[in-house]
Symmetry: C2
Subunit: 510 residues, 2 copies
């Protein structure tokens, strides 16, 4: 027994030697240690527990798995996944410490939220800081996201979440009183207007430093699509250079860490296929604020199988976005658009990129709906920025496309980002045929999106769905309705199974 | 393009060779494959995705990680974690198929539940079947559990969940009209009455086939405690043999798979430190029904820092339990008990086992409160079974202890389960001293439990907290209030840091 008042401190930890395993685990920081490692023994580490890795001043929370023997790692080594390796910034043979992570205090707030209590600004900040630092496991992240969906975030919480997300990330500033941004709340496959809008707005001399996310629950995000055309993982310096040179960019937001907490949350939202209003508002607005935007155009597609299903829901979402934006000093214009069917022909990164190129190039077969929507949204941005009078924006946008100015601007932006390339083609494809003759009276955005995802989108860039018909089209029995594109025969078969089982993707009435 | 009507089927998959990695990951089925594996290429498998492993008629859903190179697994091999290896039942060199898992249809129901819709019997059955089959990741499980906590399960849902959990597991039947069971809803550290109650009830000639869980959010479950005294991972045949021979058993429920879905859910509840009423009711009742019980005594401790905090909450929980039990054909008696402070002296598997042994052996220093509570609960069981008149149960129980009959029965049960042994002792311990003189006026069950967990309980059996004082005790400054026990110096230091920072564990007033 110790004497009264005697303090006890942690014993000095033996260090381990870092070993690179080449273990690919996406974003998961993983460490493999031997069961008989002296550190596992002295610290009482159990397999599948979280540990704190420390090397050269950096810290990473990682999942520990143990090895009963073998030669992969030795007793004095800690074998790291690629994600852990990069985040720790170590080299083979570096010394590394493995210890118990500090208690995850912010999980008490998540638990209180699970049981129905609201989060104040301080609690939200602690949660978001721990999320951004990678201290939450998937189970913790899922609990936070689910609790905030089942009992939806109220306006104060959305505001707290937005501000906390901005605070833990990088923040851009621009030497211009007007900085434009544009965003679609999603849910509509093929709705790839951003590359076109950026080209039109920048061609009109405005600043539009657009950062986009990868797909959350959809078959493609703008970043996934743009990645088939040019480099999108620009760091802050590169992004700034491109925007200063061309007035606009089309970069992946994750690479510039404008909202690192959101990047983490989005990974789990994707696994769960969840995307709730409050989370969406905070995600969108935090990235716009961090990007230094002053004026934002928001596209809200409304349709029975879109993310927003009714005019009332659209109004509620627009209210939340506008109110929180106002409190954060942003001017926002929400545009309700038709969400009754996919936009353009392609669903999937490369297929959507082809549609974008066709519109920008003024190709005769360019999808008219994609062109029309892009002009509508770019027009609102041009009006919002005072570049033209009220009601004149769409015409100015159309003219910018028709003159080729938007296409030139797009090419220059891609060149500045690392060079424009043609999107890849699929290696395996099969059509899905009409079972009967008749008229296409409904298209289900959700099952079509799911089909494209099962075919491999967005991970496999060339995978997805190519639509051959639109609402109102008359088809003959046996006529191809769509083509499924994949990069592997397994995925093609998997997607075609789904298509065969889900005949309500397109409704054909005699 | 295919001709109309042509069907497409999955190509024949190349098989891989199973390789045992000795990878310890608790229950996680993990497969490691080379990035350049022909199967990863042909099927388009991405790292950190779920795959379906198939060998010799068995199927296991596993998490796929990939290796960029190295010699751990070769291109034609699939390296398996111990959990995957055992569940697939393969031997080194066996052929194994790796394919895309079927779409997780029940997650649509979980998503609807996340957004506030109720689950009917069919949807609940699908979810529970997928959970039991190991098809949900931690993120999926956490979403289900959280949604059912934020919008609590209603009575119908608890009934559906209970029945579904019974249906996916094994179910025992006994050749007796009365089969007793006993359960505590938990939240009170050290409340280890079950071993004593089983001994008393079985010594009185009744059938009590008790299965217990491991700790969910607490420092010890009855199975963890019993494991320090005897073998608890009995299979169904062994359990039946012990009960037929001795009238009672104290087995781990997980090994007999009475409620395999609950075993999976409990692992994630533990990570999240969540334990909500509906889940608890379904978990308890499903295991009692599956164990073949007819009459159940439920201990509901009530106190400001217990799981159930008020009389009203206790009544609500008792109502839910009684109503769902009735619909399932079980007779349940709920007993509200004092939850104002831990029971006995020990908190942690081995420390609690010592308290249990002291009571059973009639040791002079045996904790009186543990003995009193055990007699109260055993008494209710004896009355419920008609073994004595109303109001006479506690006295009969006391007499069974005093006569040594309960101790003899306990020894025989342990012998039948594999032999009685003494619980282990800790290898590192330190007292926590009173900072001032005064009277102990409050004890915080939650922080005391957390302290025991940080010291390593329940994974390290000898770890935990040994209390030296009870409510109302007068202490001098510097007097030991409790001793922290650990099995590793790292954990001891970790727990003592927590004790130093959380001085409200015991309130001392002058």
């Amino acid at each position: 027994m110790s004497k009264p008042g005697q303090t006890v401190s942690a014993p000095v930890l033996p260090t381990l030697t870092a070993r690179r395993l080449g273990l690919l685990s996406q974003h998961d920081a993983i460490v493999l240690m031997r069961e008989d490692s002296p550190v596992c023994r002295s610290e009482g580490h159990a397999p599948r527990s979280q540990v704190l890795l420390r090397a050269g001043g950096r810290e990473v929370t990682a999942m520990l798995y143990q090895l009963a023997g073998g030669h992969l790692v030795r007793a004095h080594e800690a074998g790291l996944s690629e994600a852990a390796w990069e985040r720790l910034g170590v080299a083979d043979g570096d010394e590394i410490q493995v210890r118990h992570p500090p208690a995850l205090g912010s999980m008490s707030s998540v638990r209180r939220r699970v049981y129905g209590r609201r989060l104040d600004a301080g609690a939200m900040m602690e949660i978001v800081a721990d999320v951004a630092a990678g201290r939450y496991t998937d189970a913790h992240l899922s609990a936070f996201l689910t609790a905030c969906s089942t009992l939806p975030l109220d306006r104060d919480e959305v505001l707290h979440l937005t501000r906390a997300m901005v605070q833990v990330g990088e923040r851009l500033t621009w030497d211009s009183p007007v900085v434009i941004d544009k965003h679609s709340v999603g849910g509509l496959p093929g709705n790839r207007t951003s590359p076109i809008v950026v080209a039109i707005v920048a061609a009109n001399g405005l600043l539009i430093p657009k950062t986009s996310s990868r797909a959350i629950t959809s078959p493609a995000g703008t970043a996934d699509t743009m990645e088939t055309l040019t480099r999108v993982d620009l760091d802050l310096a590169a992004l700034r250079r491109v925007v200063e040179q061309e007035g606009g960019c089309l970069a992946w937001g994750g690479a510039v860490r404008l909202s690192p907490a959101d990047d983490v949350l989005i990974r789990v939202e994707r696994v769960l296929d969840l995307d709730s209003e409050g989370q969406l508002a905070a995600s969108v607005l935090s990235k716009k604020i961090a990007a230094g935007s002053t004026h934002v155009v928001l596209d809200i597609p409304v349709g029975p199988t879109a993310k927003v299903r009714s005019r009332d829901d659209a109004d509620a979402l627009a209210d939340t976005l506008a109110e929180v934006a106002r409190l954060c000093g942003l001017e926002v214009r929400c545009v309700r658009t038709d969400g009754g069917q996919p936009v353009g022909r392609g669903i999937g990164p490369a297929l959507e990129a082809r549609d974008v190129l066709a519109v920008l190039r003024g190709a005769p077969n360019a999808p008219a709906d994609l062109r029309r929507r892009s002009c509508l949204l770019a027009g609102v941005a041009l009006e919002l920025a005072g570049r033209c009078g009220a009601g004149e924006g769409a015409a100015l946008a159309d003219q910018t496309l028709a003159s080729g100015l938007a296409w030139s601007k797009f090419q220059r932006i891609c060149e500045a980002q690392g060079g424009l390339r043609e999107p890849p083609s699929s290696t395996a494809s099969r059509p899905v045929l009409a079972a009967r003759a008749g008229r296409v009276t409904a298209m289900n955005n959700r099952t079509l999106a799911r089909l494209a995802k099962l075919a491999g989108a967005p991970d496999n860039k060339a995978a997805g769905v190519e639509l051959h018909v639109r609402l109102g089209a008359e088809v003959a029995a046996g006529e191809p309705l769509l083509t499924v594109h994949a990069e592997a025969p397994g995925e093609l078969a998997y997607a075609l199974d789904y298509a065969a089982a889900n005949t309500d993707m397109l409704t054909i009435e005699a």
